[in-house]
Structure formats: C-alpha cells, structure tokens
C-alpha cells in the first residue's frame, strides 16, 4: 500500500518537475551550471539579478506566441 503511494507521489513529483522545466522554472539552475562548466572567473548573478535580467532582456527581444 505504502509502496503504491510512494509510486504515485514519485510520478506526481516527476510530472511537476517536468511541467516546471517546460515553463522555465529551472532557468537559474541551468545558468549556474553553464557558469560553472564554462569556467567563468567572475561571480555569477544572484537569483534575483538573474530573473530581472531575464525578463528585462525579453523587453527588447520579444518572443512570439502562436495562435
């Protein structure tokens, strides 16, 4: 019984993680990963700075949304 619940919970968590990734919730984590992998010397942007920069760049670089 508890194994079944764990299975459902796992499945739900997986779906939530997927949905989050589709919406771009993991963008900051990916940025940090890139920053680390690329071996940049300067300090990475803080989470707040990153999201600010992200939406501000969209201001001058709009993405289409389809019909």
């Amino acid at each position: 019984m508890s194994a079944g619940i764990a299975l459902v919970a796992n499945g739900f968590r997986g779906f939530a993680r997927y949905l989050g990734a589709v919406m771009g919730a993991d963008a900051y984590a990916k940025y940090l990963e890139h920053h680390r992998a690329a071996g940049h010397q300067e300090v990475p942007l803080s989470e707040r700075e990153f999201w600010r920069d992200r939406t501000d760049r969209q201001d001058s670089n709009p993405q289409g949304r389809c019909c």
Partner: protein, 765 residues
C-alpha cells in the same frame, strides 16, 4: 568516430573533416548502427506496426465508410493517433534521411553559442513541451469548429493528412534550417536565400499577416465576451492576477515559477467561480454587461498598454499561467474524450459541404475548408516560432525531428479534439450559435424557426432547448455567439460534465473553456503586438537609425500605437460589420496564415535546392504547391467571385449600387450607415487580399527562381553559397527521440562515465 565516412553527405560541406575530441566518447551514434537499427524488423516490431496500421485502418473505415446513425468519438482518436504514429515513424524518417540529414557530430547553437540564458541545451522532452506550448494556442480550437458546418469528415481528413504531409514538414524543416543558422529568424533566412526583393516582400507580408492574425484572434475573444457579464468578469480578473504574479516574481520570491503559477491557477479558478456569483447579482450583471464595441475598444487600449509595459509585469506571468493551463487543459480534454466517448450525430458530409452559401462560413469546400482550418493542419505562424526560441535550445541535431515534426502532430491532435468537442453538441444548437444575428434574428424563437427552416436531416430544435442550454452554461443567450470559442466551450462543458460534476458543473466548465481560450488569445495578442512593433521599428530603422534602438521610448510607443491601430481597425471593422464579422474575416485569417506557410515553405525549397537535394525536392514542393494553390484560389475567389457572399468586390459593388439607387436598406444591412460600413469594409478586405496574394506570389516566384538557379549551378558545377554557420564538433550526446534506442542507451551510458568537468571545453568568454 571522427573518421566515419559520411555516405549521405553530398559534399556541399566538408563535414567528413569534423574533428571530434578523441578523448571523449563519440558525440553521435554510428550512422551504420542507426541504419541497422532502422532496418532491423524484429517480429515484435512488425506485429506492433501491423497492429497500429490495422487499428488506424479500422478507425478510418468507421469514420469514412460506415454510415450508421452515429459514430463514436473514440474512432477520431484512433484514426488520428495511428496516422500520426505512421507519419512520424515513416514519413518524417524519409525527410530526415534525404532532406535534413542531421549530423549529431555537429554542435548545435545551444552548444557552440551557449550563454546560459538564450542559448541553453535543453532536455528534448522538456523542449518538446516548451515548443508545443509556444505553437499551440486558440487557433486549433477555433478553425475546426467553424469548418464543422461541412460535416466532420472533410475537416478530419484535412487536419490529419494535412499535418503529416504539410504542417509538420514545414515546422520540422524551418526548425532544422534555422538551427543550422544559429537560430536565425524566418525573415533573415528569406533575405539570405531569396535576395532583397523576395526578402523584403516576405518581411512586409509577415508584418501584415501578423496584424490580421492578431485582429481576428481578438475578434474571437470579443465575440465570446460580448453580453456575457460572467465571462467579462473572469477574463478581466486575469489582468490583476497576472500583475500580482509579476510583482511576486520580481520582488517577493524571484524565480519561484511553479509556486506562483499554482497560486495564479487557484486565483483563476476563484475568478471563474466568483464570476458566476458576480454575474448573479444585479449590479454585477449591469456593470459587466458590455456590448461588443465597448469590449473591442477595451481590448485595444489594453493591447497598447500591455505592449509597452515591461515584460515582467504582465506578459511573463500571464505566459506562465497560459502554459500551465495549456498543458492541463489538453491532458484533461484528451482524458475526458477517451473516458466519455461521446456519440457523434453530425453527418460525415453535411448539406453545406457541396454548397457555397453556408451560414457559418461562406464559400465552397475547396478552397475554403483548407483555409478555415489552418492551425492544426498547416500553420505558417509556426515558422516564426520554429525560427525563434526553439532552435536556440536544441541539444542535438537529430532531435529536431521529434520536436519539430512531433510537436506539430501534437497540435494537430488538439485540433481533432476540438473538432470532436464541437460536433458532440446538437447540430441545431451548432447552427443557432454560429450563424450571424442577421439570419437567426437574435432570439430563441426566431433562431429555432430559422434553424428548422434549413431542412437539415435530423434537426428539429425548439426555443426551449436553446433557452435551457443558455441557462445551463450560465449565459443570457447562446444565439449567434459566433467565432467558434463559445461553441467549443458548450461542447467541452457537455463532455466534461459527464466526466466530472454533472449538469450543475456545466456553467463552470463553459466559463473555464472561455477563460483558457481568452488567456491563450490575450497572450498571443500581447506577444504579437510586441513582435510586430519590433519588426516595424527595425524596418523604419533602416531609414531613421534612431528607431533601431529598442530602448528609445518615443519610437517604441509610436510603433506600438501604429500596430495596435492597424489590428484595432480590422477588429472594429469585424465587430461592427453588418454581415456578421467572423464569417467574412475568418477566411482572411486562414489565407494570411497559409500564405505565411507558403512563404516559409518557399524559403525551405530554396535551401533544399541549394543543398543539392533535387530528387526529393517534391517533399517540400508538394505542400508548397498545395498551400499556394489553395490560398491563391481562395484569394482569387475573394477578389473576383461574382457571388456577393464570397467575393469582397462583388459585395462592394452590390452595396454601392444599392446606395446609388437610394435604397434605405439592403440585404442584412438595415440602415444607410450599415450599408456604407459594408462598402468600406469590403473594400478594405478586398485590397488586403490583393496585397497578401501579390506579396506571396513575389516570394514564391523568387524562391522558384532561386531553386532553378541552384539546379543550373549544380549542373554547371558552380559552387552554391551556403548560409549555414560553420560546422563545429560537438562535445555532448543525447538520444534523438522520446524513447532511446539500444545503441543510444549504450552510448549514453558511456557518456555517463565521463567526469562532468571533462565534457565541456573550458572557454572563458
């Protein structure tokens, strides 16, 4: 692996010389191994594909040949899914093998331009969802509903066959070629491949097409919200909800996207339920009861403000909400249709399939069915997405087939489900809802009388049924609620209440459906206005350089105002049109969308020819020819047809003559002012058709010329110019499709053993 001979490469680039890192496992599965996997038909695999083919065949047989009283909705699901699977497994593989020829040894832009922000390698399954959310919106939910006038079969065939041979091909090719060019836009590719004339025509056409598409999507919202206090309240509430989410993400808890989306979703549900309560009160009903013209003006003002506000405040949070709803709604709709399996009573071909004077959509089946259903079968707008964000996120070249071709199949499935939802309601209700007031008279009595007078088989509707349906869904009236969205909402409410909640929940489900359609459309309106504004700024910037500065406020505001005024004028024209608006304007939407598809396919044709693939050029030429013939025929009829219901200028002439004769009313126009409006509207619509079709013909002709030139160059042995980015070796690996193959799994395991810091080159840029 670096030295693997590339049999498929026909020598336009020296790819064989791509030196991958010898210290790493190969970044691609050996081509010979891939071929072997493809060609190895185990008995299990044969049985599986035989079963899929058989099930699909039976489903098509049930839909197309067996003519019982009813047909079960489940056959639509089987026919479509089986056809998609076969198209994906076999046809898209042909395209991959002979046209795109992806090479996983090459790094994608997400790898060689990686910046952690715009160019980010993204897991293929996540990117599939992301791309799907960007391409799918209200379009596939509206077109099939309007086309249901002709019966279910023409629409079903076009949606399913069209996507396999045309729509998905376009999306895949544009995505692939844009990826090979560092994620360049369709406009840039058109300029490179077709030269200045073709490129400029493509740019102007794109801009105009965008205006039309935004205007008509807005018209759908206006029609759905007109005289509906509940709808106005709950859709209006999305604005403060989005603003709150924006502030939350900016100042309170940055980056908590999932958290804020869930909060937003809960608030959205509260707004829908609250809308019922508000509309039930006297002041609420009075305050939120707005006529269509007021809503159209509201939308115009909103569109302008939304497009100049910073992205974080309104656009980004609403986009999260819209994505969240999109995935949720589609899963829910699919589940509901599979569980409820409604019986469809609509005939395969209706009485209007062979006529050109249908009340919902005028014009003959060919070509107007094919322009009415654009999104879901072949949508040119997707080319703007496939050459926008997605190519910058692709991890491996071979994944483009799954994301580009597969993503479009998914949208087509949404269109099929929308069609099923719309045709699951009674046909009498369908016609009463979708015919203009000029025909139905606007009341339940006149509407019922008019529908019964059509002499449709099996249709006998009473005023009580129309009144009761309106009451069930919490509206004052459902007569002449054209535009597709309300019909789909009634259909959905009808199916969903059998799944969850019963009749008591119908009003909720109806407004839930209206809400998500409005949400999708408002996001598209917002983003469309912004994109169009930038295109305009860029174009003016060629003459007045100051306009190229995105941060220069006066320029940005002026260009926004111009774009909003452009679509606003078309929207107001549609709202006030005495002929019913959506009936006259929707064909223009479809024509615009498919002309954009023709432009995108024309660019692809030129690229494929320049790569030297002449033998399989038909894969691109076939959908291009079809789109060109359909849209040019439709435009021709819209411009030159002597039937006033079809031809804009014929209508214009008829009304002008009536005015000259001093008539005080004519046809559905009941006053001189209305007659003047018809004259004005038909002239504008007619000239728009002329401009579209001329621009598109220029683009197609330049593409054909580029193709012929490529053929001559090749025969003469002259080198063709290639606009791809230089090939760089890849240092990563990921499987190509949803389920990794054995060889891919083995290679992935090998890559898993490589320490993380050894995988990527340390580039301190």
């Amino acid at each position: 692996m670096a030295g693997v001979p590339d049999q498929r490469n026909n020598g336009s680039r020296a790819e064989g010389g791509l030196a991958t890192d010898p210290d790493l496992p190969p970044p691609a599965v050996d081509q010979a191994l891939l071929d072997a996997e493809d060609r190895k038909w185990t008995p299990g695999k044969v049985a599986l594909w035989a079963a899929i083919a058989l099930l699909g065949g039976v489903a098509w047989f049930m839909l197309a040949i067996v003519r019982g009283e009813t047909v079960n909705a489940i056959w639509f699901v089987f026919a479509s899914v089986c056809t998609y699977l076969i198209g994906y497994r076999f046809y898209s593989k042909v395209i991959e093998r002979y046209i795109t020829k992806p090479d996983d040894r090459r790094a994608t832009p997400a790898e060689y331009k990686a910046d952690g922000k715009d160019y980010v390698r993204t897991d293929r399954n996540v990117l599939f969802g992301h791309h799907f959310a960007a391409i799918a919106g209200a379009g596939p939910l509206v077109g099939p509903v309007i086309a249901a006038q002709m019966g279910y079969l023409p629409g079903t065939i076009w949606i399913i066959i069209g996507v396999v041979l045309a729509g998905a091909v376009q999306d895949y090719l544009v995505l692939f070629f844009s990826m090979r060019r560092g994620g360049r836009s369709l406009g840039q590719m058109a300029r490179e491949e077709l030269g200045v004339i073709g490129g400029t025509a493509a740019l102007i056409a794109t801009l105009l097409i965008m205006v039309i598409i935004v205007a008509i999507l807005a018209l759908v919202v206006v029609n759905a919200l007109g005289e509906s206090p509940w709808g106005v309240f709950s859709v209006g509430m999305t604005i403060p909800i989005a603003l709150f989410m924006g502030v939350y993400l900016r100042y309170l808890r940055p980056g908590k996207v999932m958290e804020v989306s869930i909060i937003g979703f809960v608030l959205l549900m509260a707004a829908i339920i609250g809308g019922g309560a508000v509309a039930g009160t006297e002041w609420g009903a009075a305050f939120f009861h707005l006529d269509k013209v007021t809503i159209a003006w509201g939308l115009l003002i909103y569109g302008f403000i939304a497009a100049i506000l910073p992205v974080w405040l309104l656009l980004a949070p609403r986009d999260y909400l819209s994505t969240f709803m999109k995935i949720g709604v589609i899963v829910m709709l699919a589940l509901a249709i599979i569980v409820v399996r409604p019986e469809i009573t609509v005939p395969a071909f209706s009485e209007f399939a062979s006529r050109e004077n249908g009340p919902v959509l005028s014009g003959a089946l060919f070509p107007f069915l094919f322009v009415t259903i654009a999104c879901g079968a072949l949508s040119g707008f997707h080319a703007l997405i496939s050459s926008g964000t997605t190519p910058k996120l692709i991890e491996k070249e071979r994944q483009t087939r799954f994301i580009g071709y597969g993503g479009m199949l998914m949208e087509s499935f949404v269109a099929i489900m929308a069609l099923v939802a719309a045709i699951s309601i009674d046909r009498g209700i369908y016609f009463a809802m979708n015919a203009p007031t000029a025909l139905t008279g606007g009341t339940v009595e006149t509407a019922a009388q008019w529908v019964n007078s059509l002499g449709l088989a099996g249709v006998n509707i009473t005023p009580d049924v129309l009144a009761q349906t309106a009451k069930d869904v919490g509206e004052q009236s459902i007569v002449s609620r054209s535009g597709g969205a309300p019909t789909l909402a009634v259909g959905l409410a009808h199916i969903m209440q059998q799944f969850i909640g019963g009749t008591a929940m119908m009003a909720f489900w109806y407004h839930f459906a209206i809400m998500f359609e409005a949400l999708f459309i408002l996001t598209a309106v917002d983003a469309g206005t912004r994109v169009a504004r930038f295109m305009l700024q860029d174009s003016i910037g060629n003459f007045v350089p100051k306009f190229k500065e995105a941060s220069w406020r006066p320029g940005a505001w002026l260009c926004t105002a111009v774009m909003v005024a452009a679509w606003g004028a078309v929207l107001l024209m549609g709202v006030t049109d005495p002929l019913g608006g959506i009936n006259t304007l929707f064909p223009l939407f479809g024509i615009a969308n498919q002309l954009l598809a023709a432009i995108a396919l024309a660019v692809c044709l030129a690229i494929v020819a320049k790569r030297g693939t002449f033998k399989y050029l038909w894969i691109v030429a076939l959908p291009l020819a079809f789109a060109a013939v359909v849209t040019i025929t439709a435009s021709y009829q819209k411009i030159f047809s002597s039937t006033p219901a079809v031809g804009y200028f014929a209508n214009n002439a008829a009304f002008s003559k009536a005015l000259a004769d001093g008539k005080k009313e004519f046809g559905t126009a009941k006053s001189v002012a209305a007659m003047e409006a018809v004259v004005r509207n038909t002239a504008i619509q007619g000239w728009l058709s002329v401009i579209f079709v001329v621009l598109s013909i220029i683009v197609i002709v330049t593409a054909v010329l580029a193709t012929v030139k490529a053929f001559r160059d090749r025969s003469a042995g002259t080198a063709t110019t290639d606009n791809e980015d230089p090939a760089l070796p890849s240092r990563v690996f990921a499987p190509a499709g949803l389920v990794p193959t054995t060889a891919e799994r083995e290679l992935a395991t090998e890559w898993g053993k490589v320490p993380a810091d050894a995988r990527l080159e340390r580039a301190g840029h």
